[in-house]
């Protein structure tokens, strides 16, 4: 939490227009926006937390749960969409039993939807902690996730 104070110190004459940069800084430092940090931003900027939450949920970039140990990014760009990334996302959500934006209870996996990761030739593509998986299918997805789970168990 000391980190949040340092962030606030960077905005000596902060007003409502500094809200988004402050939220971005907090997310960079802590990985997500927690209730505590949103309340702190509220008292710093003299804004109700509901308004901050309203702004933050408007943008895709903010998340409200810590990312999992393995952060799954699902590309929903045009090329991936044409090749079925909607189904891919559905399948991942089904297999991990959490929705996009959420983190599994054991803290292992989190899902994020991204607009395009610039690997259209590999569509549909996902990336887990920066590692790309090309032309994924339901079966290959199950295998990929299983690999991470087994690594974890060992």
């Amino acid at each position: 939490m000391g980190e949040i104070k340092n962030i606030f110190n960077r905005y000596p004459e902060a007003g409502r227009d500094n809200l988004i940069p402050i939220l971005q800084d907090i997310q960079t430092a802590e990985g997500h926006l927690s209730k505590e940090s949103i309340v702190k931003v509220g008292s710093f900027l003299n804004m109700p937390s509901s308004k901050i939450f309203g702004v933050a949920t408007f943008y895709n970039q903010f998340r409200f749960q810590p990312v999992g140990k393995y952060h799954v990014q699902v590309c929903r760009g045009t090329a991936c969409h044409v090749l079925g990334s909607a189904t891919v996302l559905q399948e991942i959500e089904k297999q991990l039993k959490v929705k996009a934006g959420d983190t599994t209870r054991d803290g292992l996996f989190s899902i994020e939807v991204v607009a395009c990761i610039g690997a259209c030739g590999l569509a549909p593509v996902i990336s887990i902690n920066g590692e790309f998986y090309a032309k994924v299918t339901s079966t290959s997805l199950a295998e990929i996730i299983e690999t991470y789970k087994t690594t974890e168990e060992e």
Binding site: P48, S50, F53, Y59
Partner: protein, 574 residues
């Protein structure tokens, strides 16, 4: 008037800065609106109010577009009417089709608009909203499925009430109205005032209903079911019943409640008198013994919760008196129970209030004696009308009756509680008597009457100059509270009512109450005060009897345990 604009081939005067809608309304042209709220910044969110600008060929929102010289407007061209109809059809495309079961059936703006625009078939089929009911609050139920995202609740909550516990969350077709982290309303800073319900065009926001419990109690022969009604109820029910605004239906109400089957009918104006006895004694004590000043009234449960959340440093300023509802509740389950030879748990105590926050107040832990709530259920004015209909009471063919005694007789001071400034006026009348030993020459205090948001006065009581301020609408109160926090010292006594106009404008009143109706209610209360002779609480014979037989004296031991309480800082997501 600066210039004219042409509307439907007629010239209308318009002033600089006026919106097109204002010009239209002034000239009797009705344009449908949904998100529009008088006295608030227009949002242009719903686009119901579109009109055609002939010069540019564009459809513009009349609520937010300023009138300009030379403008040519068509308000009901084919294009305009069709686009309005499409908007309604789109709003209906994901709306639950359960009007028959909806609490706002026949009192719904979406229903009215759809009827006015001859929507006769479902042309557009969308996926139905599927959101969970939020039942977490003691006062307010949120049904996001019925929400049309007009945003009026959000505006009222922030601009009028200064609470801002809800906002529009997410984006595009995922948008919902919700609290921070979209949690239950009970974890938010919501003060339960119900002003959001008053502006909601659909059934997305309603009060929490307790009909079943009350009916169970009425059908239970082992329970004595008693009812009390707030000072403002008798003058604010008229609109609900289809009578002339401001009509006082006190006697009819007594008779109707007995017909429903309530064993005793009491008047909270009686306990308002009791509140005045305690509160004015507390004020005099604080002034003479150097207590924390200014003393701030604590009758309004919305304000009390607001203080607990936003101004906990001012909690010592809050009067320790319970509200009239809770005082009468406590007296019913102690004094009345003893008189009737009943155990407190054998009594079921109902209160009719103009307020949704009273539902929250009734279930507060502070408002219990030995684990038994002082008040068991609260009905709003709206709910009362429905309840009377349920029991087939014809309010137009009924002879007036008196309230039960004791605890039914009131002074007009108690009745004034219903309007902003009333608590103050009533307290001053009694405080004047206890300080100087003489009655006021002129009982009416015009400086603190009326619908203004803030009323200040310096009053002479003997040698003392008393600084008093009356505020209504929490956002207005906030300004005053900040002044007090920043060291303003010339005030002794403050009355805060959360809702605009006080209880007559409460969140449990008739939906769609206009400013004229509010004025009519206020006038009705002042008329009662003018016409009746018993104008001070301390001369109410039933109050005197209650102190002689049971309570002893104001601020005495018994009063203290039954009629006073303490509040503390409340931790919520602000």
């Amino acid at each position: 008037m600066d210039f004219t604009i042409n509307v439907n081939n007629k010239e209308f005067n318009a002033a600089q800065g006026e919106t097109i809608l204002e010009v239209l309304n002034r000239n009797g042209i009705k344009v449908p609106t949904l998100c529009h709220l008088k006295n608030s910044m227009p949002t242009g969110a719903c686009r119901m109010c579109v009109v055609e600008d002939v010069n540019t060929g564009k459809l513009i929102t009349s609520c937010s577009f300023p009138a300009n010289p030379g403008m040519q407007i068509k308000t009901h061209s084919q294009r305009v009417v069709e686009s309005r109809k499409t908007i309604i059809e789109l709003l209906l495309s994901n709306h639950p089709d359960d009007c028959l079961y909806c609490v706002r059936n026949k009192n719904c703006e979406l229903q009215d608009l759809s009827e006015e625009h001859h929507v006769r078939e479902r042309r557009i089929r969308g996926r139905k909203n599927s959101e969970k009911l939020d039942l977490s609050s003691a006062s307010i139920v949120r049904d996001p499925e019925k929400c049309v995202l007009c945003g009026r609740c959000v505006t009222v909550c922030e601009d009028v009430m200064g609470v801002a516990c809800i906002d529009i969350l997410n984006r595009g077709n995922k948008s919902v109205v919700g609290t921070s982290f979209n949690q239950g309303l009970n974890t938010s800073s919501c003060i339960n005032c119900g002003q959001c319900i008053m502006v909601c065009p659909t059934g997305a926001l309603t009060e929490k209903n307790h009909f079943a419990e009350i009916q169970d109690a009425l059908n239970n022969p082992a329970k004595k079911v008693v009812i009390q009604y707030a000072p403002s109820i008798s003058v604010s029910m008229a609109e609900e019943l289809g009578m002339e605004s401001g009509k006082d239906i006190n006697g009819i109400l007594n008779a109707a409640l007995r017909k429903v089957g309530f064993d005793n009918v009491f008047d909270s104006s009686f306990s308002a008198d009791l509140t005045i006895m305690e509160e004015s004694a507390e004020l005099v004590q604080r002034i003479t013994e150097g207590g924390v000043l200014p003393m701030i009234t604590s009758c309004c449960p919305g304000w009390v919760k607001y203080a607990e959340e936003f101004y906990s440093e001012l909690i010592p300023n809050l009067s320790s008196c319970k509200s009239p509802q809770q005082m009468l509740g406590a007296i019913i389950k102690s004094y009345f129970a003893e008189k009737e030879n009943l155990q407190p748990e054998e009594i079921y105590s109902v209160a009719i209030m103009p307020c949704t926050a009273k539902k929250f107040e009734a279930q507060r832990e502070e408002m219990t004696q030995a684990g038994i709530s002082d008040v068991d259920a609260v009905l709003t004015t709206r709910e009362l009308t429905k309840f009377l209909k349920l029991y087939g009471i014809d309010m137009f063919n009924i002879s007036p009756e008196l309230t039960d005694s004791p605890m039914g007789f009131r002074s007009t001071a108690g009745k004034l509680f219903g309007a902003s400034g009333g608590v103050m006026e009533a307290a001053i009348r009694t405080a004047h008597f206890s300080i100087t030993g003489k009655e006021l020459v002129n009982f009416q205090i015009p400086q603190i009457r009326g619908l203004e948001h803030r009323k200040e006065a310096k009053l002479k009581i003997g040698d003392l100059e008393l600084g008093v301020v009356v505020v209504n609408g929490m956002a207005n109160a906030r300004e005053l509270l900040d002044e007090i926090k920043n060291g303003r010292k010339d005030i002794h006594f403050v009355e805060v009512m959360a809702c605009p106009g006080g209880c007559i404008g409460g969140g449990g009143q008739h939906i769609g109450t206009s400013e004229e109706e509010l004025k009519a209610r206020m006038k009705a209360l002042y008329r009662i005060d003018e016409n009746e002779t018993l104008k001070v609480s301390h001369k109410n014979p039933e109050i005197i009897e209650l102190y002689n037989n049971y309570l002893g004296k104001p601020l005495g031991h018994k009063s203290h345990s039954l009629l006073h309480t303490k509040y503390k800082k409340r931790e919520v997501m602000i």
